[in-house]
Each structure stands twice: as structure tokens, then as C-alpha cells.
Symmetry: C2
Subunit: 330 residues, 2 copies
């Protein structure tokens, strides 16, 4: 049904395969640091929570930090990569509490194994550890970047909850929310990397745009995936967003194309109804439209760094990360 981009291996693997020796070593250091933070609190963090936290993920944000810092980013880049992933993990742990989510990445969530209270505190702990890690090294510029991005994340969440069940939300408003909720942390990862590598300020604008664009594309594709399913691939039921009252671009575009969808009442939706609504959104052709918007953003992101002061390897690897964002959904 949808145009399939040419097959590429999973994002991290592709980038690591293409990289020279420095990148895998540094990504390994980030992983060790994350393990220390997740595992370094003894029995206060349950073993199950611990396992979940160290279970991994795509590590796209640390990858961006390391690539933007370059091969001389050193410990400063490793710290920044670890901190940005800790904030990301903290938000996932809190999201899982709010969504009563039993699984993430195929494993039980902290919420599922430890309950609401411990999961909320675990999120707060990861969050605090991120700032402590940067501040203990005396790096207030990095704290500033990460704290401002965290403010944006929280505001994005608040906007999403405020707009819940409002099917009249505009595409602009949706995109602004995604910029806050997802784009800003990708952008922050790039800028933290640049700062860690001592890169020049001229590249900052290009990198900010790169991060923001691939973050936005990532969110759009994630929202498409919520409509397409299937559950065994995404780990959640089709239409979870709709059941949650979250109006995303696929529904907004579909309502433009299929007037019968306008003003649909999400409050009364049950899983079967959500499934039907997903079918109808898909039938409108909205998914292809949103997917192609996302692909255009990724292409723009790649074009935007073509003229930057990066060396060819860095540019190629950043391009692979951008492709990786798309690949997940192909």
C-alpha cells in the first residue's frame, strides 16, 4: 500500500557498521554509564526496573550527540549522550505510568513491575541523575541546553493533554506540539554534541534544524504506526492514541479528505471502534500523505547539513541516522 523506502539495516547497526573505530567505543561508554546510573542504586531500584532501564532502545539521541561532537568529543560527549538518554528514559517511564502500559520494547515496564508510585519516583530519579551528571562536571552550558529541552518536553505533554479529544485541532497546532514533545530533544542532542566537541557556532543553526526535522519526522511516523499497527510490531494495540484522545496528523488529514470523519467523538471509543476508525483513516489515503511529509522532512534535514562544516564521515553518519528514523517505519 505505502511506498517502501529501500531496505536498510536497523539504524544503530547501519551507523556503527559505517563508522570507524571511535563511534562504537564511545557508544559503548554511554551504555556503561547508563548501566551505572540504572544499576547503581542497589535495592532501591527493583531488579525488574533495573532490567527494563538497561534493556536498551535505539539510542538515537546519544548517537546524535556523539556524531555531532565528532571523534574528539571525549568524556564530555559521553556524558552529554548519557544525560540526554536519561531524560528520554525518564519521560518514557512517566508516560508508561500515565498510559498504564504493561510493555515497552517487549519487556514489562517499570510501571508494570513496580507500580505507579515507584515508577513515578524512578522517572524523577533518572531525571535528577541526568542533571547531576552534567552539573558535577561543571558543565552549566550543557545543563542549560538539557533543562530548556526538558521544559519543552513537559510543555508539549501539557499541550497534548489539553488538546485531548479535540478533533478540531489544526495541523499547525499538532506540529507545534510535536516540535516541543519530540523535536526539541533531538535538537538538544545535536547542540549538546556540538558543544561537547567544541564545534563552531556556525554549524549550530544547521544542526538545530537537522535535529528538529528528524525529531518531527520521527513523531509523524510514530503517529502513522499507531494507525497501521499491527500490535505484534508496535507492542501496542492499533489506535492507542485515539483511545487516549490524542488527535494526531493522520486523523487531521483524514478528516480533511473524508468529511464523515469530522467531529468524530473519541470519548465513546472502544478498541473495536478504534480499529474501525484506523481502517477509515487508512482508506482516506491520509497515511501516505503524512508519511511523505515525514520523508520530505528527513530529506530536508539531510540536505541542510550538506554544506555544513562537518567532515564527510560525520555527514554520512548523520545521514544514516536520518535514514534510520525512516527505516523503523518501512
Amino acid at each position: 500500500m505505502s511506498p517502501r523506502p529501500s531496505a536498510v539495516p536497523p539504524p544503530v547497526t547501519a551507523v556503527l557498521d559505517a563508522a570507524t573505530a571511535w563511534l562504537p567505543g564511545m557508544l559503548g561508554s554511554v551504555e556503561r554509564r547508563l548501566g551505572e546510573v540504572a544499576g547503581g542504586h542497589g535495592p532501591a531500584l527493583d531488579a525488574a526496573a533495573d532490567a527494563t532501564l538497561s534493556a536498551g532502545g535505539k539510542r538515537l539521541r546519544p548517537l546524535l550527540v556523539l556524531l555531532c561532537a565528532g571523534r574528539d568529543g571525549g568524556d564530555s560527549a559521553v556524558r552529554a549522550g548519557t544525560a540526554v538518554e536519561l531524560v528520554h528514559m525518564a519521560t518514557l517511564v512517566h508516560d508508561d505510568v500515565l498510559d498504564d502500559a504493561p510493555l515497552r520494547r517487549g519487556r514489562p515496564t517499570v510501571f508494570a513491575t513496580s507500580g505507579r508510585a515507584r515508577a513515578t519516583s524512578t522517572g524523577d530519579l533518572l531525571f535528577s541523575r541526568a542533571f547531576a551528571l552534567l552539573a558535577d562536571a561543571g558543565d552549566s552550558a550543557q545543563v542549560s541546553l538539557l533543562a530548556e529541552a526538558s521544559v519543552a518536553l513537559a510543555l508539549g505533554e501539557l499541550e497534548q493533554r489539553r488538546d485531548a479529544y479535540d478533533t478540531g485541532v489544526s495541523a499547525e497546532r499538532y506540529l507545534e506540539r510535536c516540535r516541543l514533545k519530540t523535536g526539541r530533544l533531538f535538537e538538544c542532542a545535536c547542540l549538546m554534541g556540538l558543544a561537547a566537541g567544541g564545534g563552531d557556532g556556525a554549524a549550530a543553526v544547521d544542526l538545530r534544524n537537522f535535529g528538529s526535522r528528524i525529531g518531527l519526522a520521527f513523531q509523524l511516523l510514530d503517529d502513522v504506526l499507531d494507525v497501521t499497527g499491527p500490535a505484534e510490531r508496535t507492542g501496542k494495540a492499533r489506535g492507542t492514541d485515539l483511545l487516549d484522545g490524542t488527535v494526531t496528523l493522520p486523523l487531521i488529514v483524514a478528516s480533511d479528505r473524508d468529511p464523515g470523519l469530522r467531529g468524530v467523538d473519541l470519548r465513546g471509543l472502544d478498541p473495536a471502534g478504534a480499529e474501525q476508525l484506523c481502517e477509515r483513516i487508512a482508506a482516506s489515503g491520509a497515511l501516505e500523505e503524512v508519511r511523505s511529509q515525514a520523508l520530505a522532512m528527513v530529506a530536508e534535514a539531510k540536505a541542510g547539513i550538506a554544506g555544513s562544516g562537518f567532515d564527510a564521515e560525520q555527514r554520512d553518519l548523520l545521514g544514516l541516522v536520518a535514514d534510520g528514523v525512516v527505516e523503523r517505519y518501512s
Copy 2:
């Protein structure tokens, strides 16, 4: 029943009355900053949440920051006082979500007005704003102090949840948890104030102890209050901690005195049972014992700063804050 300390006016009022002009002005600046943060996000923060956040509280932590910084603390002290109170507010907002609390300080909680999801994000937002405020001013030493204290807060919460319903918990373990959960942020407020005022490192040990002791006393007295009630004074039902499975010092001490209380099963407790258990704890004399432990800590705190390098006014005002901690419970 219990020994009443001599009547003193509410803590903040007493301190402000005794202070010369600089303190009220600076505390007013903290209040304005808090208002900006709570009110500066437009419609994303609901009006009700906004009202709750700017509704106040005792502001003990900012008061400690300002007093430890002294009259020349300037904007750095105001920022630190604001940041420490933001972290405190963030934890209250999250606690209210976890406790399903309808009221705090006689007003509806963010949880009550805006629901779990928005309250969780509001807590995250306040937390992020605290770090952004300090980091944007380039103050990584302050970020470091606050982040480490936040880590301790989260660990204290995790320990409390892990120990839930365990009536065999020792007094030592309870005290250690209180140090993390409450003492560390008071301690942090003192140290941030000292740093903001450019105070010398020699006073750091005394201030750290001062903050830790009054924080611990504060928590002990709070735990006594949960047993004594009454609801119209504390804003919550008697025995809320017990219903929540939280074993505090009054129960630990009472179990030593009244063997019939050992191994009481908190899981099956209903509000009437909690009320009865509170009566039995009170009858054991445990409340007087815990209260006198708290008063001894406050006295020790005051004695510990007697020889410090503070001027007489600062010392007197810190003494009044310490008394204010006790007064709330007299």
C-alpha cells in the same frame, strides 16, 4: 497531653518581623519569580493549577537560602531560593498524584483540577524550570547541589515505597529514609544560600548539619501530626500514612512500648481501623517520645550554629526558622 512550646507566631511572619529590610524584599522577589514560572506558560498550565502553584506555602526552604546567603546574596540567592522551592513544589505535585490527594493547603491539588497526566507533566515542568533557572545563569555549582538533593529525594521516595507495609522496619532505617526524603533538601537550601552569598567553606559543615537536623525534625513532627490529626488542621484524614502502608517513627516506637502492636497488618486497614490504630499509638506515649526527639534535634541545630561565622542577626533569624518548624506542630 503533649508539652506545648511557648506560643510563637507562624514561622515566616516571625522571621520577617524580626528581620531588617533586606529579607522581606528578597523573599518578595522569590515569590515574584515563582509566580512567573508558575504563571508564565499561558494556557498550557491550567488556571487552576496555576492558582495552586502560586498559592504559597511556608517557603521555609527559600527562607533558609536567603538567610544563609545573607544580605548580599542578591539575585544569585533569589534564583537559588526559587529553584529549591520549585523542586519542592514538583515533588508535592507528584506526591499528590500518587496519593490521589484532593486538597493541599486547603486548595484543590493540580491532580484534582487537572488529572493525573497533567499533574505529572506539571511536576516535570517545575522540575525542569528549576534547573533551567540555575543553569541559564551559568551556575553549575548550584545545579550540582540541587541535582544531588533531587536524586536523594527520589531515592528516599523509592525506599519509602519499598518499605511499605513492612512493620518490622527499624528506627535507623526510617531516619535514613527521612534524611533522604526531607533532610537533604533543607541541607541543600542552606548550602545553596551559603554559595550564593559567597560565604566561606568553614560554615558549610555547620550549615549542612543545621539544615539536615531541622529537616529531619520537620519530617518527624509531620509524621506525628498524621497520627494526631485532626483532619481540619492537617487537611487529611488521621492515619493517612498508615492507610498508605507507610511505617513511621510513631508506629515503630509504639510497637516497642506496646507488644500488641507488633506485626499489625496494615494491608487490611480501613479508615476506621486507621483511626483506632492512631488512638493506640497515642495511648502508648510514642507521640511524646517522637516529639521530644524532634525538639532535641531542633535544639541541637540551633546550638550547632552558635559558634559559626554568622552575624548575630543571621543566627537569630535561623533560630526563628528552626522554631517555626516546631511551631507548626505545637
